[in-house]
Symmetry: C2
Subunit: 292 residues, 2 copies
């Protein structure tokens, strides 16, 4: 299978227009937060954030396949002692644009060390907003299953008669369990809370998120050969992971230094390639069930 990694240097507000309609399976990105990276995207003020992002999300809506998913990693800043409202305003505005706000995952940053401010604690979580074009979309839940909790060891050792049939007599909240279904089962489906540590080892660039984060969503929402897009590539974490997982990937980055960093890490053998289109070798089949 030919896997392609297409790295584009430039402003995604323009470059996205070059992508075809309905061509992307998963968009995973972490855009510059308000007021940061002021030299690149013009130092977006929190008050102007929604207005700035909407033309971009409109393009993303266009290029995403109807069966595809857009995952937006974002967290609002504190401004004047308050959490700013630009993120929740963005959700409302994107729904007006036609996006469906399917779910909000929480990324719990496990190793964020407690700090101290007079009025608040250390911020240890970020939003992962899932948007879709349609109510039905591709989701490969089995790919992200996790080992069952310890309780299962003893729980499933012996099944009592009531394990087979549970009375649904409890009005409302009762649910009939079929513990027999769990025999031989070692894995369970995850929840919408992700516990991942932030990566601290890489000193060349400040990684916005750990590789496990895009990996989890790429597993969940794409298969080999699908297309992954990150319009704010940064140093290329999403694209690098996608490429390793044998997904086609498109990354857009406005800052040359980040672009080159991404280029180096994504295709070390082609560092000097003048082309932005990098064709990688065919790879052996990738077993999604086996962690890398």
């Amino acid at each position: 299978m030919q896997i392609e990694a297409r790295l584009i240097l430039g402003d995604c507000r323009q470059k996205l227009k070059e992508l075809a309609d309905n061509s992307i399976d998963l968009i995973f990105t972490s855009p510059p937060y308000a007021d940061s990276r002021s030299q690149t995207y013009g130092g977006i003020k929190p008050e102007a954030y929604v207005e700035w992002f909407l033309p971009i999300s409109a393009e993303l809506l266009r290029v995403l396949k109807p069966s595809g998913t857009f995952v937006l990693n974002i967290k609002e800043k504190v401004v004047n002692g308050e959490r700013h409202t630009y993120v929740i305003e963005l959700i409302l505005a994107m729904r007006q644009q036609g996006w469906l706000w399917t779910e909000e995952f929480i990324w719990h940053k496990k190793n964020s060390y407690p700090g101290k401010w007079p009025n608040r604690f250390r911020d240890a979580w970020e939003r992962l907003l899932q948007f879709n074009k349609q109510r039905t979309f591709h989701m490969y839940q089995e790919e992200v299953m996790e080992p069952m909790g310890d309780w299962a060891e003893r729980r499933l050792k012996k099944l009592s008669p009531t394990d087979m049939v549970r009375d649904p007599s409890r009005a409302g909240s009762g649910f009939g369990k079929r513990v027999a279904n769990w025999l031989g089962r070692r894995m369970v489906y995850p929840t919408n809370v992700l516990h991942l540590a932030t990566e601290t080892k890489n000193r060349n660039h400040s990684a916005v998120f750990p590789e496990d984060l895009p990996r989890w969503f790429i597993r969940l929402f794409t298969r080999r050969g699908d297309w992954v897009l990150d319009p704010f590539m940064g140093s290329g974490t999403t694209i690098r992971v996608a490429q390793r997982m044998e997904r086609n990937a498109i990354g857009i980055e406005i800052l040359p230094q980040y672009f080159h960093l991404a280029q180096e890490s994504i295709c070390p053998l082609l560092q000097t390639a003048p082309q932005q289109m990098l064709l990688l070798e065919e790879r052996k089949p990738y077993d999604a069930a086996k962690p890398e």
Copy 2:
């Protein structure tokens, strides 16, 4: 110190008006979520939720001290495959009312409701929205410090030793022995992610949050003798915890059966008291800082 627990049977939309301006230090509540408890508050439709809540939050703004805090436990439902927007619309509307949206804590529900669906995973978190009247408010951060170590895992299990004495439900359960392990360990400030399991033992009331949840916020935002308010008391978890921690408390509940449940659990010795004003005995001084 005289500690008061005032339980009010009725609709908080009316009963809140009887409370004095600027008299409450902490409001901690979990209002009926949209479409639930339909027989009491009229089964608020998600579309009408904000309109329904705003008169209540206006009263809460009036009764809260300028130095006080309002913590709102809430989570949006899924409607037609999407997360509904009434919660984030409520945040925007409450800011228009004059509230400051200071912070959003995450309650990670370790034992979330089971289930399997083709397009989503189990919902394992809820919002704890912190609102204030002013940028400066009372916050006693040292009261919720935790031992360093597995602080990411068993966050709220770690209470100060004095709590063991003051809180009968904790004492004598083998819990005190572990306290010894914490002594001498370094204490750190927590983050804005709380890891707690829902309590499944309570059969009388269907929608209880664990006692550790109000306890944590009561410690953080109040001192002994302060006033705690829960306008949607339910079976009285918040008020019961507040009373044990020697805070004055006011609870309002519309459903007689919940009200009586609360009354019984909050003041077992005065079950038959016709009065809604319960005056408890004077207690010896409580020193939260000093372990015994």
